[in-house]
Amino acid sequence: MTAHVPVAVLTAYATGELGADDAMAWPVEAHLETCAQCQDRLAGLIPAPVGEMLAETRTAILARARNGPKPARRRRLRRLTHRWAAWSVFPWALVTLMAVIAAFLLDAAFPVRSAVVLLLAPVAPLGGLAVAWSRRWDPAWETVAGTARAGLELLLRRTVVVLATVLPLLAAVGWRLGTNPALWLLPCLTFTAAALLLGGLIGVSRAAVLLGGAWVLAIVLPALVTVRMPVFVQTESLPGWAVTAVALIGLTILRAGDHRHLSK
């Protein structure tokens, strides 16, 4: 701001002598936009009728701001829940809660032979994953699927919600039963990663159903029928679970781009 607008030019601008369509007015206006000092000088130079009109306008605007419709309240918490929650997972959360409690009661009744909670741990998050990203269960799927945040970002948010529901539940019953936390945590994470990894190729819903079904048919049912707990829920399989979990989580991160394409 080196040169201010000369008084003569500013007076001509204030009285309208220097019209808005005059090319000479443009540098004056450009300067006025940023210079408070010249704005003040201009205010002193404008003719009385213009001054009155401006004062009236100011009063009207202030009155409207005071008496007009109130601005909508800021609702941070509400917005936050909307952005994180996957609305369709609520019924699933209830079903999972009941299943885990039922498993807990069985284990508590037959503490020596039974490990139903551990058999359930790998598949506990899968139902939620199947539901959270399913066309059938999410009423707004069609509207949401073509948006910028659909795909990877929403998927990760919904996975976090599902895990945040399942893990505390398993932690609570595991603690009551006195089981080694790694025995439910590692299988739970392994299957979650596997569902996301496979989901990049065939869709997360389908992958979750497939993996959950395979685990139930191949491991859970035989175990319940023969009343013999498989090696997968015993402490000696922990190193195996750990290696698989780390490998699958790594692969899932590497293949995250698979969720960025169009659905088939």
Binding site: R78, E142, R149, L262
Partner: protein, 265 residues
């Protein structure tokens, strides 16, 4: 939350066509609903007409990047839809009202439009103002706090339009937007359409020929997954001046053009 805006996002859209489809084939289930479509769309309001099962909704879904084309080339706003790197940036410039648009019943109109603005990556600081503006434009200002499940069909449709325009998209896809609107609301909606078509490319799929005549700058007639006719709304009326079935000249023209296309095929 502040999001970095890349140079590419703020660059003016310089591509000549908002939609460029060549030999486009899209499946609906096991059926090829769009079968070898060539289509170029520039800014303006384009009306998409056609009988049930012509492939209108499938075409809209493919343009909305909801389903993947089976075959052919599809470029939207200058980006190939199969290009993973540009998909997210492309999607933030799209607006889409599906024919059957589901919603979360407990959301209010404001919740819903705000949520969709966030999903479409409207910068966080602009979300409240953009939401209010979209709600005002569809005339739902005094129902902004109402839950979606309490709205009438016409109001729901307008809430759906509000979420589609909240990011001021460069390509706006509206599938049957006038369903459930009363005559007065339809007139207001046509004004909104003309307004939107000044700056962006709007494709409106409808079964109401009168909507197209009143609000669109050109008419596309789709039949069996292909473009049967493209012209001005006035061409419809001309074709139906002395022939065809329907209540108005444009409706008769629609039936004539469809019949001619089918007998030629």
């Amino acid at each position: 939350m502040v999001r970095a805006v890349s140079a590419g996002e703020v660059a003016p859209s310089t591509q000549a066509w908002q939609v460029e489809a060549t030999g486009l084939r899209v499946k609906a289930g096991s059926r090829l609903a769009v079968d070898g479509l060539d289509l170029m769309l520039a800014p303006g309001v384009h009306g998409l007409l056609g009988p049930n099962g012509a492939g209108k909704t499938t075409l809209m879904r493919a343009l909305a990047t909801v389903i993947k084309p089976k075959d052919g080339r599809l470029r939207l706003l200058g980006h190939d839809v199969r290009d993973r790197r540009s998909l997210r940036a492309l999607r933030s410039r799209l607006g889409y009202l599906p024919q059957q648009f589901g919603f979360y019943p407990k959301f209010t109109v404001r919740d819903y439009v705000e949520y969709m603005a966030w999903l479409r990556e409207v910068p966080a600081a602009d979300v409240p103002a953009a939401t209010q503006r979209a709600i005002d434009r569809v005339g739902l200002t005094d129902r902004a706090g109402s839950r979606l499940k309490s709205l009438s069909g016409g109001m729901l449709r307008r809430a759906g339009i509000a979420q589609a325009i909240v990011n001021e998209p460069d390509l706006l896809l509206l599938d049957e937007p006038t369903v459930g609107l009363d005559p007065e609301q339809r007139v207001e909606f046509r004004e909104l359409l003309r307004d939107l078509g000044d700056a962006s490319c709007v494709l409106v799929s409808t079964h109401l020929v009168e909507d197209v005549v009143a609000a669109c700058s050109d008419v596309l007639l789709l039949d069996q997954g292909r473009l049967a006719f493209r012209g001005l709304p006035a061409d419809l009326a001309r074709a139906g001046a002395s022939d065809g079935v329907g209540d108005s000249a444009a409706e008769r023209g629609y039936s004539v053009l469809l019949r001619d296309h089918r007998s030629a095929a």
